[in-house]
């Protein structure tokens, strides 16, 4: 069908074979069986490119870069050809009034028919003045665009849960999109997000007309349902007690478990060990760096300190940890108890000698 996604891909030099490989890979990412591949292919062959507006708030543009940095034609690059990106400040040609007109036209003429993607947190302190785009506060733009979208997708930890701007003490009272607009927001967190997950969500939406199954944090289960610790290639080293103790030590060179270096894999849910990053090249643990649970709400405080196993006990600073404090208090208690015993013994000796003096027993 002319004007369909498939024909657009063909015109961009993607072969039929690459197209089908893409459909298979996406089905796998979504956790669907290979029998679903024809359905995905058919949807992309028939459907027109959906309109997407991509808004930027308090962000670093990492999620856009994650999608744009793909170096070879791949799942990540193809996404830009599957959708009609009608507004994206990092890559669009117009600027100023012309850019804002693009946004305004899309959300009015295609009301109810565009997908809204949000990157970056929304500040709410002091009426939300800490982020203005085109002379409008982000909090207002966010609500306006969300109202007419057929799907709202938040990408990256900042848009999902507040991310870095929301780390203590959260100077601008930054919030995730969900907390601003309520309702169903599909969250694709990560820092940055993995573009293959984003692509899979869009294809799912095009194929089935609905968003995939989400967990209680609005994250698609196909990508965020499994604990990293349970799928990590270094898990056997964990079970065997083979831990890296210092950067660059023998264990580090042998690829041992990074648990002792503060890896937060045991509390992180994402598909990094499976689909990895940069078209399956690697992921932090494979490269020898512990996981920082970047797809978890408040990971900048909850998974912090990143190079320590245990979270710092509040109020005592990052240098003390629970064990040092515990040992200290236990030792103090033992000393106090010993002192108490000594005083009691002394008192009883005095009482006994006193009662002997007085002739009792």
């Amino acid at each position: 069908m002319a004007g369909s996604i498939y024909h657009h891909l063909l015109s961009r030099g993607v072969t039929r074979r690459d197209f089908l490989k893409f459909c298979s890979a996406t089905a796998a990412t979504l956790g669907l069986s290979s029998s679903m591949v024809p359905q995905i292919a058919e949807a992309l062959e028939k459907k027109e490119r959906p309109s997407v507006v991509w808004l930027h708030f308090q962000e670093c543009t990492g999620d856009s870069e994650s999608v744009l940095r793909a170096s070879k034609p791949s799942i990540a690059k193809v996404i830009l050809d599957i959708v009609s990106l009608d507004y994206h400040e990092t890559i669009m040609a117009p600027s100023g009034h012309a850019a804002e007109k693009s946004l305004h036209d899309t959300i009015t003429k295609k009301k109810g028919k565009y997908i809204a993607v949000y990157e970056g947190a929304v500040p709410t302190k002091d009426g939300g003045i800490y982020c203005f785009v085109g002379g409008k506060k982000s909090i207002d733009t966010c609500k306006e665009v969300a109202a007419g979208a057929m799907a709202n997708i938040a990408v990256g930890n900042c848009a999902c849960f507040g991310g870095v701007p929301a780390a203590k003490p959260n100077p601008t009272e930054a919030k995730g999109i969900r907390d601003i607009i309520g309702g169903t927001v599909l969250n694709i967190p990560g820092c940055p997000m993995n573009p293959e997950n984003f692509t899979a969500v869009v294809v799912h939406f095009l194929t089935f007309g609905s968003l995939p199954a989400l967990d209680s944090l609005g994250r698609p289960l196909f990508a965020y349902g499994k604990l990293i610790h349970n799928n990590c290639e270094r898990r056997p080293h964990f079970d065997q007690g083979q831990f890296v103790r210092q950067w660059g030590d023998q264990g580090h060179r042998l690829g041992w478990c990074l648990y002792e270096m503060g890896c937060k894999g045991p509390m992180a849910f994402q598909n990094c060990p499976t689909i990895r990053w940069n078209e399956g090249t690697s992921w932090p643990v494979q490269a020898g760096h512990p996981c920082i649970a970047c797809a978890t709400p408040d990971n900048w405080d909850a998974a912090y300190p990143f190079y320590q196993r245990m979270k710092a006990v509040p109020g005592v600073g990052w240098q003390a940890n629970a064990d040092k404090i515990g040992l200290g208090v236990a030792a103090a208690t033992a000393a106090a108890v010993a002192a108490h015993g000594a005083i009691r013994a002394a008192k009883r000796r005095k009482e006994c000698s006193k009662s002997e003096d007085e002739g009792h027993e």
């Binding site: 990092t90 800490y130 982020c131 785009v133 780390a167 930054a174 820092c191 912090y304």
Partner: protein, 62 residues
């Protein structure tokens, strides 16, 4: 005397607003404003210095 406002500047990272005062076909004054603030220095205070790079690298994702 006219004032030109270009906001947002696109094809950059971040949010930039440029205003220019034009008189007789020449720009006589101009302003540039970064229209977003997160407070990353404030966020870093009191944290373990060995983790600082993880926060600071998120200032810009490019």
């Amino acid at each position: 005397m006219a004032k030109i406002v270009v906001d947002p500047i696109t094809r950059i990272e971040g949010h930039l607003r440029i205003e220019a005062q034009v008189e007789g076909g020449k720009i006589t004054d101009a302003w540039a404003a970064g229209t977003m603030w997160r407070g990353i220095e404030t966020i870093l205070k009191g944290r373990d210095p060995r983790d600082a790079w993880t926060f600071v690298s998120r200032i810009c994702g490019v």
